[in-house]
Amino acid sequence: MTMTAALPISMIPGDSVIHRINPIAKLIWVVGYIVLAFATQNILILGVMAVVAFLVGIIAGVVKPLLKAMIILIPIGSSLLALQIIAPAVERPWTQVGSIGPLALYGDGLYYGLVLLGRIVASLIIALVVVMTTHPSDLFTSLAKLKMPYTLNFMLAMTLQLIPVFQREFGIIMSAQKSRGMKGTGFSAVLPSFVPVFVGAIERVQQLSISLESRGFGSNGFKTSYRQVKVRARDWIIGGIGVIVIAGLSAYSIYRGLWSLSAEIQFSPEFVTGLFLVSALAFFGTIAVTIAYSFKKS
């Protein structure tokens, strides 16, 4: 169905343990994940981070939409691995482990490719899980408590709230176009729908700003919120553990010179060649399917 086909990057209502954690505690983990992901080149740490984030997703009961949103990783991941294997983004010397025709394949390239992918995967999963389990208003209220400037906070919350609105709008517009016999399914079909989506978005934002002003937005004084967010002992503990674990690991990793295991982990030539072929195929396959799809029927 058109309406559910869009990327599900919005809150998914639920009452899991993860849903009930204070937004700030969750935010600490997201920021911490990103800090740690870039403070280390240790593939084991990155792997564990991704697995933990995914487990949190399972506990929160958002696995299905999570996997759906992660489809985006297929082209990104495959291109990243294929390119890194033939042209590592690290200092020479590189250790060549094999070759395909004129292309030399490098083991350190694969290691570094996996590190880059690990950073993206770990940060993306945790960020998605948090967005899917946090009501935008709760985040808003919590950030306000931290003395975040009201306008800035409002912009952030508004952006998160508008995403599902636009997704729904896009679904309706696609239905309307199809009802007029619009053919094709790829880009050629989506393109005409962008006009109404953007015009609608601009009109909506304009109207929103007028209505905000007429309801006294920008006036001074203490702001209250309809939704109340409690900070329980549990939230302090979760946030505290996050800070300690991440700060500790980041510091140790930096102390060890980003703790890269590229010297310790040696990939077999067959593994590197195989993975290169698979990711190159996946990358070009994705491109080919997308192109074929958009020209189909159009």
Binding site: I173, A176, Q177, R180, G181, P192, V195, V199
Partner: protein, 293 residues
Amino acid sequence: MADPKAIEVTKARFVYPSGHVVALDDVDLTIEHGEIVGIIGQNGSGKTTLTKLFNGLLKPTSGSVVVNGIDTAGKSVQEMAAHVGYVFQNPNHQLFARTVEAELQFGPRNIGVSEEEIAERVARAVEFFGLKDVLEEHPYRVSFPIRKLVGIASIVTMQPSILILDEPSTGQDHQTTHIINDLMRRLREDGTTVVCVSHDMPLLADVVERVVVMKNTQIIADASPREVFADEPLMARTNLQAPQITQIAMQTVVPLGGPVALTPRELADDIEQRAGAKKTARKPVAAQKGAAS
């Protein structure tokens, strides 16, 4: 198949895939070719969901929907578009071309109408909807009522044998409502089947010949507008309001054996007739009044 019905819905049930929301439950509905049908009911009663089954935008979870003899189950919306035109409630969802003219040409071109025929249809629509002055304008630059007309016209140029109008008169002024009213009458003369979802009771009372009443995912009444609007318990149960003129008639002339008026004209005629009868009975008074005026 011998003379298929325009729309045949059999035991249709629809559950939205995102949740466990049942939008339609055990709905049976047959609409003949050339009928003008109004669908009324409170928000959330299933009206729009039902009409979306007609052009295949939604497929029934169980039961069947057959349109012009074609089961929508195996068909895409694009394939159904040649049979069923669907005018969305908000024209902003529908319009995207650079000019009003291009907007009107988009639909028929999609279903493979020849260029000469398209030009002819567009010319006719422009004439009927009074869009001559805005033809070169961007659809988003014209006023909302006109934009709504453009939205309707962009479907009418496809000349579907079945036309679905979702709230055609929302946000419309008297003049554009009048055009919509005229359109429905003309479509009826052309033999087009029209299904109109609306809260605008006077509009429906004026043009439709059959009213389907929905409540809580089901059809609870299906009769002529006169029968439906005269059924006060039904109106109360569905939280709907008959047109004011019908309500006045129900409280005045109906108990005296007068008609369930649907338009001011009908009520006026009846009152005039009664007054006329009185005139003949009490001549002197009537004569005096006539002299005074």
